[in-house]
């Protein structure tokens, strides 16, 4: 028993099975991310006036990460083209760069997450808010650095309001409420973490497949080069989709 059109395209559709399969899969992915982007729009429109935070993320870092992903998009095409040109070593090189870019992206993203999880908003008993990065925490006091201090209800950290201090020590007794900028902090961070984490999972999953096809999976090049090239094309299509999602995520979450 042999399933037809596994490698060769079916003449009347012009597609081999897996290529149609990945496009269908991507269609459902569009609906998945589409639903989340729609949720973002609905939540933002529904937010109380002035309540939607701005400037919580570091735009230069986001820009670098965007460039990293775009680079990987280029190399993933070059890798596939190299196989079409029968240049296996060039494929190895380009796809290697793709993998490095993927890892770099995940590392930068992790740093951004870490930055948010150490970023605290401390509401004090005297109605002042201290907003900064946690350096030290003990039973008696905490220490923050790069702190903005402002009256409660007078804007948020991103607005650059209030008084700035390099470092600040706050006694435990002074603290009324203290919360870091995790997804629980506000709805913007909730959608930021959900969208970027889901995207990061896609990056990691895609990179895992590309790594397999770059390493042990590349043995197929010797036995069935056409099918191997198809596999690279499919993983490339998925990778482009992952990049495309980020192209939408970056302006929506960082710039707007």
């Amino acid at each position: 028993m042999e399933i037809p059109y596994v490698v060769q395209p079916r003449p009347d559709t012009g597609l081999y099975n897996a290529k149609l399969g990945i496009w269908l899969f991507l269609a459902s992915e569009v609906m998945l991310f589409g639903a989340l982007f729609s949720s973002y729009i609905l939540l933002r429109i529904g937010a109380a006036p002035g309540a939607w935070p701005h400037g919580l993320l570091n735009i230069p870092i986001g820009t670098v990460n965007t460039l990293v992903l775009i680079t990987s998009s280029i190399t993933v095409v070059m890798a596939w083209a190299s196989l079409k040109l029968n240049q296996f070593n060039r494929f190895k090189m380009f796809q290697g760069i793709t993998l490095v870019c993927a890892m770099l992206f995940v590392c930068i993203k992790s740093y951004e997450y870490y930055d948010k999880f150490t970023h605290y908003e401390v509401i004090m008993t005297d109605g002042m808010v201290a907003d900064g990065h946690l350096v030290e925490k003990s039973d008696t006091h905490i220490t923050l650095k790069h702190v903005a201090v402002f009256h409660e209800g007078e804007g948020t950290a991103g607005d650059h309001h209030g008084e700035h201090r390099e470092e600040m020590r706050i006694e435990a007794a002074q603290i009324r409420k203290m919360e870091n900028y995790g997804p629980w902090h506000n709805t913007y961070l909730a959608i930021y973490f959900t969208l970027t984490a889901l995207h990061a999972l896609h990056v990691i999953g895609g990179a895992a497949v590309i790594a397999y096809l770059w390493g042990p999976g590349s043995r197929m090049w010797k036995t069935d080069p056409e099918r191997f090239t198809n596999r690279i094309e499919i993983s490339g299509l998925f990778w482009h989709f992952v990049d495309l999602v980020w192209i939408f995520l970056f302006p929506v979450l960082y710039l707007l």
Binding site: P4, L20, F25, S28, L42, L43, A190, F193, T194
Partner: protein, 603 residues
């Protein structure tokens, strides 16, 4: 070819280089679409029975609120503990059973049976393919389904019990009930969504890529078209629910506030949440899946009924092209009607007008399909056998279900009927005597192909007539109850309403007649349970004891699934199929017999 039974052995020479797979590979981790179809079928039939069992327990509580459940009560107490203390169903347990009845019936029973089981078994055969396009993904799809089902089942036994917020899991209710059952529900759904996503990709790719030579689009049997549209609905409608599930999971686990508004109070206290979320967002995302899901439930059954009707009227389906275009129209329109489930949320008149309009429009292709099937009966020499009985039963039942939906699609009448037993009666007429009758027709119809034996005709007819009577005795009175204002999801079956009434039959109260119907309905439900016993015994007994088929094509059918050996071996066909004409060439003039199989040229 039709007059002899070519057993599996005939193809062994053809497949000699294949080694026989062992037990695990052949029956558990099989990649053969027919085995996977049967796996799906048996699993989902078990879930169907279990979902029905939950409802039979709830019907006791509705009919005799506060009384211990006979026979099952002590067992429930033993298995589930305090929630059934003294054998009485507590309101927590009632809520769990209600939520899980809906979830199980929709996501673990009817959809897997209609789409995955029948689709897997029949679609590749009907298009003349050797298997699905991605056999291993097919296997993974079934495994995800099983994992999802297990997660749902396990949630009954965790502290706090299974999800309690209805199958719709509206937030903030779903988020604030103190049980991890909802988290299990979400995780289970993620597995089920993954399963149906893999299935949908596979079906569409198979139908587009693996059609046999000559099998053009307009020569596809209508069942294949129905599955094709269904697959697209699953592919595109489920991901938004997955997104919603992820966000609800974040609300439960990471304490975000996607669906929790500012100032939310739980139990009289201000909830400790950041707020700013939107409860309506959940409803939009849920019903964006929810409405296409209705057509996922109904289209495969329509496909099965079309096959059975064409075969047993011995004439071509009336309006094949209308059927095809109508199902495509349904597929498209089903994505833009979702908010008719949300008239009570206070939407503006413009939005509500839009959704009323699309809802009225989508009834047109549904009526077209039903009309085509009805007119197909006209002038046919109808063979009355069990599959045909179920198909004939389907038509008026689905008609009642569909037509009673119209008042729910118009917001003025919906405001009165919303959340009453009328709604329950409406969608159960579509799905229970509707879809499930269609699926039963399919089981009796394709059983001889899968096993080489017929199911008993006599017990099949007993199954049909008793089911038909009791289904109607259950759901007809609910229309009356609903119009009288009896609400759904009430643990005491509406007794609080009768206490609140002002004089007999006063507006605002429920009459004793209406409340009294609960008892009759419950008895009908239990008798419906009893009527399934002949089917269950028949189903298993006939595997070894049923009347043997004398031909590969016992119903004298035209479509390709009957041109295989019986049961079809791995790889399906003894020779490669080539298709010469459309699917329903029955009683064509000038032929030697009254049917022309698709793989035989016509004279």
């Amino acid at each position: 070819m039709q007059s002899t039974t070519s057993q599996t052995g005939h193809t062994e020479a053809h497949d000699a280089h294949h080694e026989e797979p062992g037990f695990w590979r052949a029956y558990v981790f099989s990649t053969d679409h027919k085995v996977i179809g049967i796996q799906y079928g048996v699993t989902s039939l078990i879930f169907l029975l279990f979902g029905f069992f939950l409802m039979m327990m709830m019907r006791w509580q509705i009919a005799y609120p506060g009384h211990p459940i006979p026979v099952m009560g002590p067992i429930l107490e033993k298995v589930l503990g305090d929630v059934a203390s003294g054998g009485v169903m507590s309101s927590d347990l009632y809520n769990s059973f209600g939520a899980m009845h809906g979830t199980i019936m929709v996501f673990l029973a009817v959809v897997p049976l209609a789409f995955a089981a029948f689709g897997n078994y029949v679609v590749p055969l009907q298009i003349g393919a050797v298997d699905m396009a991605f056999p291993r993904i097919n296997m993974v799809s079934y495994q995800c389904f099983v994992v999802g089902g297990v997660v749902m089942m396990v949630s009954f036994f965790i502290p706090g019990g299974a999800a309690q917020a209805g199958w719709t899991s509206y937030s903030p209710l779903a988020t604030s009930i103190p049980t991890d059952g909802q988290t299990f529900w979400i995780l289970g759904m993620v597995f089920l969504i993954t399963s149906s996503l893999l299935g949908a990709v596979n079906f569409i790719a198979t139908i587009i890529q693996l059609r046999a030579p000559g099998m053009t689009w307009m020569r596809l049997p209508f069942f294949v078209w129905a599955q094709f549209v269904t697959a697209f609905l699953l592919l595109l409608a489920f991901p938004p629910l997955e997104a919603a599930a992820v966000m609800q999971l974040m609300d439960k686990v990471a304490h975000t506030s996607f669906f929790l508004p500012t100032g939310l109070a739980i139990g009289g206290n201000l909830a400790n949440v950041s707020g700013g979320g939107s409860p309506l967002l959940w409803q939009h995302l849920f019903w964006f899946l929810g409405h296409p899901e209705v057509y996922v439930l109904i289209l495969p059954a329509l496909g099965i009924v079309a096959e059975v009707v064409a075969n047993n009227t011995r004439k071509p389906l009336w309006g094949y092209k209308s059927l095809v275009y109508a199902s495509l129209a349904i597929g498209f329109l089903s994505f833009i009607v979702w908010a008719h489930h949300m008239y009570l949320t206070g939407m503006g008149t413009a939005i509500s007008t839009f959704f009323q309009t699309t809802t009225m429009i989508i009834s047109i292709p549904s009526v077209v399909i039903l009309t085509c099937l009805l007119i197909s009966l006209w002038g046919g020499s109808i063979r009355i056998n069990t599959p045909m009985l179920f198909a004939l039963g389907f038509l008026p039942m689905f008609g009642i279900g569909g037509l009673t939906g119209l008042p729910l699609g118009l917001n003025y009448s919906d405001i009165h009927l919303h959340d009453t037993y009328y709604v329950i009666a409406h969608f159960h007429y579509v799905v229970a005597p509707g879809t499930i009758f269609g699926l039963m027709a399919g089981i009796y119809y394709w059983y001889p192909k899968a096993t080489g034996r017929f199911m008993s005709e006599f017990w099949g007819k007993v199954h049909f007539w008793t089911s038909l009577v009791f289904m109607n005795l259950i759901f007809q009175p609910m229309f009356a109850q609903g119009m009288a204002g009896m609400l759904r999801r009430m643990v005491d079956g509406g007794v609080n309403y009768s206490l609140a009434k002002v004089g007999n039959d006063a507006i605002g109260g429920l009459s004793d007649t209406m409340i009294g119907m609960n008892v009759g309905i419950s008895h009908a439900a239990w008798l419906l349970g009893v009527s399934q016993i002949p089917f269950i015994i028949n189903f298993f007994w006939s595997i070894t004891h049923g009347k043997k088929v004398t031909s590969d094509n016992p119903w004298d059918a035209t479509t390709l699934e009957w041109q295989t050996p019986t049961p079809p071996p791995h790889g399906n066909f003894a020779t490669a199929m080539k298709v010469y004409h459309g699917p329903y060439e029955y009683s064509a003039p000038g032929q030697s017999k009254d049917f022309a199989p698709q793989n035989e040229p016509m004279r």
